[in-house]
């Protein structure tokens, strides 16, 4: 039996689950992130080279869930709700309070939802069953997701894209675009080799018209 892995100076007295593959160069701030981790997949969670997973990131993984996080990914407090699969490419920047969900966890139909709600109090722990359909989320490399955003089930975000703060992403995002709003819409096109100078001259915040 392998020894339990803990985090030195962790404020929460937890362990890293055995089926988490954690690159030695990655930073994981607290085992509290695994409080909702229920996956029994052999490689339920893979965290890449130089990645950093800060306090506030929660891995809410159902029993068959598989999440992979690329190299140098900066996750500053995102909530990952996964029953099937979520992949995050290299160099992604994911801000605080971001929700990445591949499932709604409860049925959309009111009658089915009632039936499920009547079953939940009979279970221990009191959780919805994983029978609601889930659709994987794929986030490409070099994607930046602004704070308070939501990425809904089945979305693919192309490489280099930017999701503005407080957006709700309901459909696929083309590579190298900036999307924002609820629902998120493309507001800008980026060039892969766009220089910082080009980006700055294109910004303005002219007053709202009355």
């Amino acid at each position: 039996m392998t020894a339990e892995r803990r985090i030195p100076d962790d404020w929460f007295p937890g362990v890293i689950p055995e089926n988490v593959v954690l690159d030695p160069t990655a930073y994981l701030e607290t085992t509290y992130s695994f409080q909702l981790f229920r996956s029994r997949h052999p490689t339920a969670l893979a965290i890449g080279r130089g990645a950093s997973i800060y306090l506030g990131v929660m891995f809410d993984l159902g029993c068959n869930a598989k999440v992979s996080i690329g190299d140098y990914v900066l996750m500053n407090g995102a909530r990952i709700i996964c029953d099937s699969e979520i992949t995050i490419g290299d160099h992604c920047l994911i801000s605080w309070n971001v929700v990445l969900m591949d499932t709604c966890r409860l049925p959309l139909d009111p009658r089915e939802r009632r039936a499920e709600l009547e079953q939940i109090p009979k279970r221990n722990p009191r959780q919805a069953s994983a029978e609601t359909p889930s659709q994987p989320i794929h986030i490409g490399p070099n994607v930046w997701i602004g704070f308070d955003s939501c990425v809904l089930p089945g979305v693919t975000i192309g490489r280099g894209a930017v999701v503005g703060a407080r957006s709700v992403v309901t459909s696929d995002v083309p590579p190298f675009t900036v999307v924002a709003g609820n629902p998120a819409r493309v507001i800008r096109q980026l060039l892969p080799n766009e220089s910082a100078a080009d980006t700055k001259t294109n910004w303005s915040n002219s007053p709202l018209e009355t």
């Binding site: 950093s52 140098y72 070099n142 900036v178 924002a180 609820n182 910082a196 915040n205 009355t210």
Partner: protein, 218 residues
């Protein structure tokens, strides 16, 4: 920049050799002594243990707060060159103030629960620079410098009311007397006396003191 990894033990202390008079703190923080470069007016109260957890400014007058203000649960997340100025009789609840350069608030400003006000985007927009930034922010990038980030000061004028869950992004000036509805995301300047709603925020009327209901379809 050390990004999120430092603690409040690293707050800058006053230079004992400085010839200028130390800033006077007439107000109070419920969780200890205020950092030396924070100047708080009389009868102003700052609560919350985390108020200065991400405060890293080295400016001589990093935060200047007026009198009779209540900063209840406010995060002062200020970078090394950041400066925040707040007038008198302001009331902020659980606001996150992200300042890399400058945030300015007038008098009688009210900010509601879970609002975020930022004068920068924190990361570069250019995709190639973002890759450099991701590496610089990683545990393997401790000695690499982050790319420079565009900062544009935010100005909130007198008598502005900002509702819960609102967001004010970089470079915005909110004109005096405006009313920013809950959940708004403001990216552009707001003329004085406007009532603003939405993400992205749009003007929906005047802030004339009458509270009309915001029903669906109205």
């Amino acid at each position: 920049m050390e990004f999120w990894l430092s603690s409040s033990k690293n707050l800058p202390m006053a230079n004992p050799d400085s010839k200028s008079t130390p800033l006077q703190n007439l107000g109070q923080w419920t969780h200890g002594e205020l950092p030396a470069n924070v100047c708080v007016g009389s009868n102003t109260l700052i609560t919350a243990e985390y108020a200065f957890k991400r405060f890293k400014s080295r400016e001589p007058a990093a935060i200047v707060l007026g009198a009779h203000c209540t900063m209840d649960g406010v995060h002062f997340a200020v970078g090394q060159k950041g400066r925040i100025t707040i007038g008198d009789f302001c009331y902020f609840t659980n606001a996150v103030l992200l300042c890399e350069q400058e945030l300015r608030f007038g008098n009688y400003v009210v900010i509601g629960w879970n609002t975020t006000i930022a004068d920068s985007d924190f990361h570069p927009l250019s995709p190639a620079e973002r890759i450099v930034d991701a590496v610089a922010c990683s545990p393997l990038g401790q000695n690499t410098r982050r790319p420079s980030i565009a900062c544009h000061p935010v100005v909130i004028e007198d008598d502005v009311w900002i509702g819960p869950n609102a967001t004010i992004l970089k470079g915005v000036t909110v004109g005096a007397g405006s009313w920013i509805e809950a959940g708004s995301l403001v990216t552009r300047d707001v003329p004085a006396g406007s009532r603003v709603l939405g993400n992205p925020a749009q003007i929906i009327g005047r802030a004339n003191g009458k509270s009309e209901p915001l029903g669906l379809g109205s």
